[in-house]
Protein backbone atom coordinates (compact mmCIF):
# COMPACT_ATOMS: atom_id res chain seq x y z
CA UNK A 1 0.00 0.00 0.00
CA UNK A 2 2.78 2.41 0.96
CA UNK A 3 4.47 1.70 -2.37
CA UNK A 4 1.28 2.49 -4.33
CA UNK A 5 0.86 5.74 -2.37
CA UNK A 6 4.46 6.81 -3.05
CA UNK A 7 3.99 6.06 -6.78
CA UNK A 8 0.76 8.10 -6.94
CA UNK A 9 2.46 10.93 -5.01
CA UNK A 10 5.27 10.92 -7.58
CA UNK A 11 2.67 11.01 -10.34
CA UNK A 12 1.06 14.03 -8.69
CA UNK A 13 4.45 15.78 -8.47
CA UNK A 14 5.00 15.06 -12.18
CA UNK A 15 1.53 16.42 -13.01
CA UNK A 16 2.26 19.55 -10.95
CA UNK A 17 5.23 20.12 -13.26
CA UNK A 18 2.80 20.27 -16.19
CA UNK A 19 0.65 22.98 -14.53
CA UNK A 20 2.23 25.81 -16.59
CA UNK A 21 0.83 24.09 -19.69
CA UNK A 22 -2.74 24.43 -18.36
CA UNK A 23 -4.59 27.52 -19.52
CA UNK A 24 -4.17 30.34 -17.03
CA UNK A 25 -7.85 30.57 -16.04
CA UNK A 26 -7.85 26.85 -15.07
CA UNK A 27 -4.40 26.74 -13.53
CA UNK A 28 -5.46 27.74 -10.02
CA UNK A 29 -8.26 25.18 -9.95
CA UNK A 30 -5.98 22.43 -11.26
CA UNK A 31 -3.42 23.28 -8.59
CA UNK A 32 -6.12 23.07 -5.89
CA UNK A 33 -7.21 19.65 -7.15
CA UNK A 34 -3.62 18.35 -7.10
CA UNK A 35 -3.05 19.80 -3.61
CA UNK A 36 -6.26 18.14 -2.36
CA UNK A 37 -5.28 14.79 -3.89
CA UNK A 38 -1.87 15.12 -2.20
CA UNK A 39 -3.47 15.79 1.20
CA UNK A 40 -5.78 12.77 0.83
CA UNK A 41 -2.85 10.56 -0.11
CA UNK A 42 -0.84 11.82 2.86
CA UNK A 43 -3.70 10.97 5.26
CA UNK A 44 -4.29 7.53 3.76
CA UNK A 45 -0.55 6.85 3.88
CA UNK A 46 -0.44 7.62 7.60
CA UNK A 47 -3.45 5.38 8.24
CA UNK A 48 -1.95 2.55 6.19
CA UNK A 49 1.25 2.80 8.22
CA UNK A 50 -0.84 2.53 11.41
CA UNK A 51 -2.57 -0.53 9.96
CA UNK A 52 0.64 -2.42 9.37
CA UNK A 53 1.94 -1.35 12.79
CA UNK A 54 -1.16 -2.72 14.55
CA UNK A 55 -0.98 -5.95 12.53
CA UNK A 56 2.67 -6.38 13.56
CA UNK A 57 1.91 -5.73 17.25
CA UNK A 58 -0.98 -8.20 17.32
CA UNK A 59 1.13 -10.81 15.50
CA UNK A 60 3.86 -10.37 18.14
CA UNK A 61 1.37 -10.85 21.00
CA UNK A 62 -0.15 -13.89 19.32
CA UNK A 63 3.29 -15.47 18.81
CA UNK A 64 4.09 -14.97 22.50
CA UNK A 65 0.75 -16.44 23.61
CA UNK A 66 1.13 -19.39 21.21
CA UNK A 67 4.53 -20.12 22.73
CA UNK A 68 3.01 -20.02 26.24
CA UNK A 69 0.11 -22.24 25.16
CA UNK A 70 2.37 -24.82 23.50
CA UNK A 71 4.63 -25.13 26.53
CA UNK A 72 1.65 -25.03 28.93
CA UNK A 73 3.41 -22.31 30.88
CA UNK A 74 1.21 -20.10 33.09
CA UNK A 75 1.55 -16.33 32.78
CA UNK A 76 3.81 -14.96 35.52
CA UNK A 77 2.78 -12.10 37.82
CA UNK A 78 5.49 -9.91 36.24
CA UNK A 79 4.15 -10.55 32.73
CA UNK A 80 0.63 -9.68 33.86
CA UNK A 81 1.91 -6.48 35.46
CA UNK A 82 3.64 -5.62 32.18
CA UNK A 83 0.39 -6.08 30.23
CA UNK A 84 -1.56 -3.98 32.76
CA UNK A 85 1.09 -1.23 32.65
CA UNK A 86 0.87 -1.18 28.85
CA UNK A 87 -2.91 -0.69 28.96
CA UNK A 88 -2.64 2.10 31.55
CA UNK A 89 0.07 3.95 29.60
CA UNK A 90 -1.77 3.57 26.28
CA UNK A 91 -5.06 4.71 27.78
CA UNK A 92 -3.47 7.78 29.41
CA UNK A 93 -1.69 8.72 26.15
CA UNK A 94 -4.89 8.25 24.16
CA UNK A 95 -6.92 10.50 26.47
CA UNK A 96 -4.21 13.17 26.44
CA UNK A 97 -4.13 13.09 22.61
CA UNK A 98 -7.92 13.29 22.44
CA UNK A 99 -7.94 16.28 24.80
CA UNK A 100 -5.43 18.07 22.58
CA UNK A 101 -7.50 17.24 19.47
CA UNK A 102 -10.67 18.53 21.12
CA UNK A 103 -8.84 21.68 22.20
CA UNK A 104 -7.64 22.29 18.65
CA UNK A 105 -11.12 21.72 17.18
CA UNK A 106 -12.80 24.82 15.71
Amino acid sequence: MQQIIVQVQMLLVALSGLLPLVREEHRGRAGEILAFAGAVLKASGALAANASDLARKLTDVRAEVESMAESGRPVTAEEMEGAIARVRAASAAFRAALEIAEGAAP
Binding site: M1, I4, V8, V22, H26, R29, A30, I33, A39, K42, A43, A46, L47, A48, N50, A51, S52, D53, L54, A55, K57, L58, T59, V61, R62, E64, V65, E66, M68, A69, G72, P74, V75, A77, E79, M80, A83, I84, R86, V87, A89, A90, S91, A93, F94, R95, A97, L98, I100, A101, E102, A104, A105
Partner: protein, 149 residues
Protein backbone atom coordinates in the same frame (compact mmCIF):
# COMPACT_ATOMS: atom_id res chain seq x y z
CA UNK B 1 -13.37 18.60 -24.74
CA UNK B 2 -15.19 21.19 -22.56
CA UNK B 3 -13.92 19.93 -19.15
CA UNK B 4 -10.43 18.41 -19.65
CA UNK B 5 -9.60 18.38 -15.94
CA UNK B 6 -12.77 16.51 -15.04
CA UNK B 7 -12.18 14.04 -17.85
CA UNK B 8 -8.64 13.51 -16.66
CA UNK B 9 -9.74 13.08 -13.01
CA UNK B 10 -12.37 10.53 -14.06
CA UNK B 11 -9.83 8.67 -16.20
CA UNK B 12 -7.34 8.59 -13.33
CA UNK B 13 -10.02 7.33 -10.90
CA UNK B 14 -11.09 4.61 -13.33
CA UNK B 15 -7.49 3.58 -13.95
CA UNK B 16 -6.79 3.38 -10.21
CA UNK B 17 -9.95 1.41 -9.38
CA UNK B 18 -8.57 -2.08 -10.20
CA UNK B 19 -5.45 -1.41 -8.13
CA UNK B 20 -7.57 -0.23 -5.19
CA UNK B 21 -9.85 -3.26 -5.52
CA UNK B 22 -6.84 -5.57 -5.53
CA UNK B 23 -5.46 -4.01 -2.38
CA UNK B 24 -6.07 -6.11 0.70
CA UNK B 25 -5.58 -4.65 4.17
CA UNK B 26 -3.18 -6.65 6.35
CA UNK B 27 -5.05 -9.33 8.26
CA UNK B 28 -5.15 -8.70 12.01
CA UNK B 29 -4.29 -11.63 14.24
CA UNK B 30 -6.44 -12.53 17.23
CA UNK B 31 -4.01 -13.30 20.08
CA UNK B 32 -6.86 -14.45 22.40
CA UNK B 33 -7.65 -17.32 20.02
CA UNK B 34 -4.15 -18.75 20.58
CA UNK B 35 -4.57 -18.98 24.38
CA UNK B 36 -5.44 -22.25 26.09
CA UNK B 37 -5.92 -21.15 29.69
CA UNK B 38 -7.85 -18.34 31.32
CA UNK B 39 -4.70 -16.49 32.41
CA UNK B 40 -3.26 -16.71 28.89
CA UNK B 41 -6.56 -15.36 27.49
CA UNK B 42 -6.45 -12.43 29.92
CA UNK B 43 -2.81 -11.72 29.09
CA UNK B 44 -3.55 -11.85 25.34
CA UNK B 45 -6.59 -9.59 25.64
CA UNK B 46 -4.78 -7.00 27.79
CA UNK B 47 -1.80 -6.80 25.42
CA UNK B 48 -4.06 -6.71 22.35
CA UNK B 49 -6.13 -3.94 23.95
CA UNK B 50 -2.95 -2.00 24.74
CA UNK B 51 -1.86 -2.29 21.10
CA UNK B 52 -5.30 -1.20 19.84
CA UNK B 53 -5.36 1.86 22.12
CA UNK B 54 -1.83 2.77 21.02
CA UNK B 55 -3.02 2.75 17.40
CA UNK B 56 -6.16 4.70 18.32
CA UNK B 57 -3.87 7.31 19.93
CA UNK B 58 -1.94 7.65 16.66
CA UNK B 59 -5.19 8.18 14.72
CA UNK B 60 -6.37 10.80 17.24
CA UNK B 61 -2.97 12.59 17.21
CA UNK B 62 -3.03 12.79 13.41
CA UNK B 63 -4.23 16.30 12.43
CA UNK B 64 -5.53 14.85 9.14
CA UNK B 65 -8.01 12.52 10.91
CA UNK B 66 -11.61 13.81 10.95
CA UNK B 67 -12.82 15.13 14.33
CA UNK B 68 -15.95 12.94 14.19
CA UNK B 69 -13.73 9.86 13.94
CA UNK B 70 -11.62 11.02 16.89
CA UNK B 71 -14.76 11.52 18.98
CA UNK B 72 -16.10 8.09 18.02
CA UNK B 73 -12.78 6.55 19.08
CA UNK B 74 -12.98 8.48 22.36
CA UNK B 75 -16.47 7.13 23.02
CA UNK B 76 -15.39 3.54 22.24
CA UNK B 77 -12.32 3.89 24.46
CA UNK B 78 -14.41 5.23 27.35
CA UNK B 79 -16.63 2.15 27.04
CA UNK B 80 -13.78 -0.34 26.73
CA UNK B 81 -11.31 0.91 29.33
CA UNK B 82 -13.56 0.32 32.40
CA UNK B 83 -14.03 -3.28 31.20
CA UNK B 84 -10.25 -3.58 30.80
CA UNK B 85 -9.78 -2.13 34.31
CA UNK B 86 -12.23 -4.70 35.75
CA UNK B 87 -10.23 -7.34 33.92
CA UNK B 88 -7.01 -6.00 35.48
CA UNK B 89 -8.52 -6.29 38.98
CA UNK B 90 -9.66 -9.84 38.25
CA UNK B 91 -6.20 -10.70 36.90
CA UNK B 92 -4.47 -9.39 40.03
CA UNK B 93 -6.87 -11.39 42.25
CA UNK B 94 -6.32 -14.51 40.14
CA UNK B 95 -2.52 -14.23 40.26
CA UNK B 96 -2.67 -13.77 44.06
CA UNK B 97 -5.04 -16.75 44.48
CA UNK B 98 -2.84 -18.94 42.29
CA UNK B 99 0.24 -17.94 44.27
CA UNK B 100 -1.56 -18.71 47.58
CA UNK B 101 -2.65 -22.07 46.21
CA UNK B 102 0.92 -22.93 45.18
CA UNK B 103 2.19 -21.83 48.60
CA UNK B 104 -0.42 -24.03 50.34
CA UNK B 105 0.84 -27.18 48.61
CA UNK B 106 2.72 -28.30 51.73
CA UNK B 107 0.13 -27.06 54.23
CA UNK B 108 -2.66 -29.04 55.85
CA UNK B 109 -5.74 -30.26 53.98
CA UNK B 110 -8.02 -27.46 55.16
CA UNK B 111 -5.56 -24.77 54.02
CA UNK B 112 -5.29 -26.47 50.61
CA UNK B 113 -9.08 -26.65 50.37
CA UNK B 114 -9.45 -22.96 51.27
CA UNK B 115 -6.80 -21.91 48.77
CA UNK B 116 -8.39 -24.16 46.13
CA UNK B 117 -11.83 -22.62 46.69
CA UNK B 118 -10.35 -19.12 46.46
CA UNK B 119 -8.56 -20.02 43.23
CA UNK B 120 -11.75 -21.48 41.76
CA UNK B 121 -13.67 -18.30 42.60
CA UNK B 122 -10.88 -16.09 41.19
CA UNK B 123 -10.78 -18.15 38.00
CA UNK B 124 -14.56 -17.81 37.60
CA UNK B 125 -14.39 -14.03 38.15
CA UNK B 126 -11.55 -13.74 35.66
CA UNK B 127 -13.55 -15.68 33.07
CA UNK B 128 -16.54 -13.37 33.60
CA UNK B 129 -14.36 -10.24 33.33
CA UNK B 130 -12.86 -11.62 30.12
CA UNK B 131 -16.26 -12.23 28.59
CA UNK B 132 -17.42 -8.74 29.59
CA UNK B 133 -14.30 -7.08 28.13
CA UNK B 134 -14.25 -8.88 24.77
CA UNK B 135 -17.20 -7.01 23.22
CA UNK B 136 -16.14 -3.37 23.96
CA UNK B 137 -12.52 -4.17 23.08
CA UNK B 138 -13.72 -5.71 19.81
CA UNK B 139 -15.79 -2.60 19.07
CA UNK B 140 -12.79 -0.31 19.56
CA UNK B 141 -10.67 -2.60 17.38
CA UNK B 142 -13.32 -2.52 14.62
CA UNK B 143 -13.36 1.28 14.76
CA UNK B 144 -9.55 1.50 14.55
CA UNK B 145 -9.65 -0.89 11.59
CA UNK B 146 -12.35 1.16 9.89
CA UNK B 147 -10.36 4.35 10.49
CA UNK B 148 -7.42 3.10 8.49
CA UNK B 149 -9.42 1.91 5.46
Amino acid sequence: MPHPIRVFALALALAATPACAAFEAPRLENPVAAARSVDQRAYALLHAYGAIVEEARDVVADPESPLALKRALGQAERAATPAAETLQIAVVAYVRARSDFDAAAHADQSAIARAGAALTAATRHLGEALTAAERPVGELEALVQAARR
